[in-house]
Symmetry: C2
Subunit: 391 residues, 2 copies
C-alpha cells in the first residue's frame, strides 16, 4: 500500500463579498508590493479590478499591473511577468480572474523565484523549489487551480504549440478569495464548460488501478451529483447564488486532492492529455474538449474494469449498467450544450489529423498515458477516431 499525501494549505475566504477581504488579508500575509495579474479586460469592465486596486492602495500596498492573459495562457506573457516581478521587487502576485490567469501567475511565481528558463519547469527539466507567494480573486468556477498544485501553460514560442502542466506543492496558492457573485456574469457556454472541467477532475481521479477508498468514492459521487444539479440552474438563472456557490466550491474540492484521498494514486488523466493536444492547437474551451473526448475514452477502456463504471453509475445515476452510465454522462453533457464528439467541438478530424494528434500526445511515441488503462499512440489514435465518428 502506498502512502498518500494530502496537503491543502490554501487559506480560503468564501462567500458574497469575499473579494473585499483581499487587501486586508494580503497586508496580514506581509505583502508590500503586488503584481496584479489579469486577463483581457472583463475584470476591468466589471469594475472588480478597480475595487481590488483601490483597496490595495487604501491598505498602503503598492502594485504593478499585468493584464492580457488569454485562455490557454502563454509562456511569452509569463516571461514578461517574471521581468516585472524582478524589476519591481514584487513580493506577492495577485491573480484576478479565472484559472488561466491563476496558472499564469503561478508560472510567474516559479520563474521569478527560481531563475533560468521558466519553461524548464513545465517540460520536466527542472523541479520547482519555491515561488513568490500567489493569491487569487477568482471569477470562474472551472480549473480548480485555486486549491490545486497544478498550473498549465502553453508554449507559443515554438513552431508547434505545446501545452504542458506542472504539479508542485509550491503551486498551492497562499490565499483564495472565492465570491460566487463574481461568477454571475459567466456565459452559459463557459458555465457549462467549467462545470464539465470540474466533473472531469473528479472522474479522472475516480478511474485508476489500485486501491480506492470508499469514503472518497462516496464524496466523488456527491460532488458529481451536485455539479449536475447546479450547472443547469446556473445556466438557467445566472445570478442564482446557491447554484454558483455550489459550483465554485465543487470546483475547488474537485481538484485539491480530496477526490483522490486515501487512494493509491492520483488517477488516470488520459482525457486531460488527449484534450490538451486539442486546446493547445485549436484553442477550444478545455471543458468542452473534455466533454467531446470522455465518452469515446470511456467506451474504449470500459472492458478494463466494468465494475468501476457500474459503481459510478450506481452512486450517481442509480444504474449499475456500465454502458448506461457512460450514456447518462453524455446525455448530461448534451443537456448543457456540451459536445460529445469532435464535430460538436467544431473540429472536422480526418484519419491523418487523428494520427497527428495522437503522436502529439505521446511526444512522437515517446510515452504512454493513463492509469486505469495505459494508452499508447495507437490507443489514443483509436480514441480520436471514435470521437471523430470514424470508428
Amino acid at each position: 500500500m502506498s502512502i498518500m499525501e494530502y496537503f491543502t494549505p490554501t487559506h480560503v475566504y468564501f462567500g458574497a463579498g469575499a473579494a473585499e477581504k483581499t487587501a486586508e488579508v494580503l497586508k496580514k500575509e506581509g505583502a508590500s508590493k503586488v503584481l496584479v495579474h489579469f486577463g483581457t479586460g472583463s475584470v476591468k469592465r466589471s469594475g472588480l479590478l478597480d475595487r481590488v486596486e483601490k483597496d490595495l492602495a487604501d491598505h498602503g500596498i503598492e502594485f504593478v499591473e499585468l493584464g492580457g492573459v488569454v485562455p490557454n495562457p502563454r509562456v511569452s506573457l509569463v516571461r514578461k511577468g517574471i521581468e516585472l516581478v524582478k524589476e519591481n521587487d514584487i513580493d506577492f502576485i495577485l491573480a484576478v480572474g479565472g484559472g488561466s490567469v491563476l496558472d499564469s501567475a503561478k508560472a510567474i511565481g516559479y520563474g521569478a523565484f527560481g531563475g533560468g528558463d521558466v519553461w524548464d519547469f513545465y517540460c520536466g527539466k527542472r523541479k520547482v523549489e519555491g515561488t513568490v507567494p500567489v493569491a487569487t480573486v477568482l471569477t470562474l468556477s472551472a480549473t480548480g487551480s485555486e486549491m490545486s498544485d497544478s498550473s498549465v501553460i502553453t508554449n507559443d514560442e515554438t513552431e508547434i504549440t505545446y501545452k504542458r502542466g506542472c504539479n508542485t506543492d509550491f503551486g498551492r496558492v497562499r490565499c483564495a478569495f472565492l465570491d460566487p457573485e463574481l461568477t454571475y456574469t459567466v456565459s452559459a457556454y463557459q458555465t457549462a464548460s467549467g462545470s464539465t472541467d470540474i466533473m472531469m477532475h473528479t472522474l479522472e481521479r475516480y478511474f485508476h488501478q489500485g486501491y480506492a477508498l470508499d469514503m472518497t468514492d462516496k464524496l466523488s459521487f456527491a460532488l458529481l451529483k451536485e455539479v449536475m444539479e447546479s450547472a443547469p440552474e446556473a445556466i438557467e438563472k445566472p445570478d442564482d447564488y446557491d447554484a454558483r456557490a455550489n459550483l465554485m466550491w465543487a470546483g475547488s474540492i474537485s481538484h485539491n486532492g480530496l477526490m483522490a484521498a486515501g487512494n493509491s494514486n492520483r488517477g488516470d488523466w488520459a482525457c486531460h492529455q488527449i484534450e490538451h493536444e486539442l486546446s493547445a492547437e485549436f484553442d477550444v474551451a478545455h471543458g468542452a474538449g473534455l466533454a467531446a473526448i470522455w465518452g469515446s475514452w470511456a467506451r474504449y477502456v470500459l472492458d478494463t474494469d466494468p465494475s468501476r463504471f457500474a459503481k459510478l453509475g450506481q452512486g450517481v445515476f442509480g444504474t449499475d449498467d456500465p454502458v448506461r452510465t457512460i450514456e447518462c454522462f453524455e446525455e448530461f453533457f448534451r443537456s448543457i450544450n456540451m459536445p460529445t464528439d469532435l464535430k460538436g467541438l467544431g473540429l472536422d478530424f480526418d484519419e491523418a489529423a487523428c494520427r497527428k494528434a495522437a503522436l502529439g500526445v505521446t511526444f512522437q511515441d515517446a510515452r504512454t498515458i493513463g492509469n486505469f488503462k495505459v494508452l499508447n499512440t495507437e490507443d489514443i489514435f483509436n480514441i480520436y477516431m471514435m470521437a471523430a465518428g470514424l470508428k
Copy 2:
C-alpha cells in the same frame, strides 16, 4: 452573507505504513528535539512507541518522553509537559495515540509558546498567539483533532471538574501520520464510540440557522453513510483495512471544517456542550455520551425546522419523515451497542442531577448554547430529563 474561512494546512500522510515516515518528515520540518507524548501504555505494549523512537534516534533527532495522558486529558499533565518543553528546549511535540493525547499536546504547545497560565486559553481569558509545532501518529479514529483547530482539556485542579475547548488555527497540527492498521487493536466499544463522535462532528455542523451550502450537505450525507457502513464492519472484523481506512479519513474530514464549508456558521454544538458536562464529571466515553444525548436533543429541537431533519433523512436513509430520521440514527447507535439514553450510559440521573448538569453547561445560567435552536438552562434541563427517561 458572512464570509467563511476554510483553512486546513495539516500535511497528511495516509495509508498502511504512514507512521514509518514520521522521523523523516519531522527532520525535513526542522525538528531537532522532540517531546514524545503518549497515554497510559497501549502504544508501549504494541511496540509502536519503540519503533517511532528508534526511528527518531536513527534520524539524529533527540527526544524526551511524557506519557500518562488519560481520556478527557488533564490540565495538570499539560503543565508538566510545558515544563519539560521549556527545560529541554523542545522544538516539536509528537503526539502518539488518540485524540486525548493530541489535545494534550496542543495545550502543551500553546502554553510553552505563550507562557502564563495555560488554562487561560481554555476559559477564554487569553487568545492563543502561537504554538510549538505539533505532529501526530494517530491510533484512534474519533476526535478529528488531527486536522481540526480544536483541543479539549479537563481541569482537574478545581473542586468542580471542568471540561473546556479551545479553537484556534494554531491548533492545526503541522503533520499527521494516519495509518489505519494502527487502529486494528481498538476495541469494539471504542470503535463504536469513536464512530459516533465522527458522525456527531458532521451532525453538529449540519444543524444551524443560516445559509447552508448544498454541496456541503451532500458531502455530509456521504460521510454519515460511510461511517454507518464501515463502523459495523470494523467492529465485526477489527483488521478490515477498508473499514478502518474509511473511518480514519472520515474522522479527519468530519472535523477539519469541510462539513461546514460555505455555510454561514460553524454549526450547533449544543450536544457537545451537554455531553462535555457528563464526560468531565463521570468520565464516560465522549462518543457514547453523545449517542445517549442526541435523540433527546433532536426531539426537543425538531419543531424549529423539521425540513432540515427531512433533508437529512432523505440524504442518508431515503426517508423524508423527520421523526423517522431521528429513529434511524438511534437504531444505528443501538446496533453498534451505543446507548441512546443516560441509563444506557450507566448514569442514573434524577431531577436534581439533571438540574445540576444543566446549570453546569450554562456556567450557572451565565450563557446559552446552540445555534439551530438556542438553548437556556431550562431547555438543557428538559433535554437531560428526556435522556434520563423522566420526561
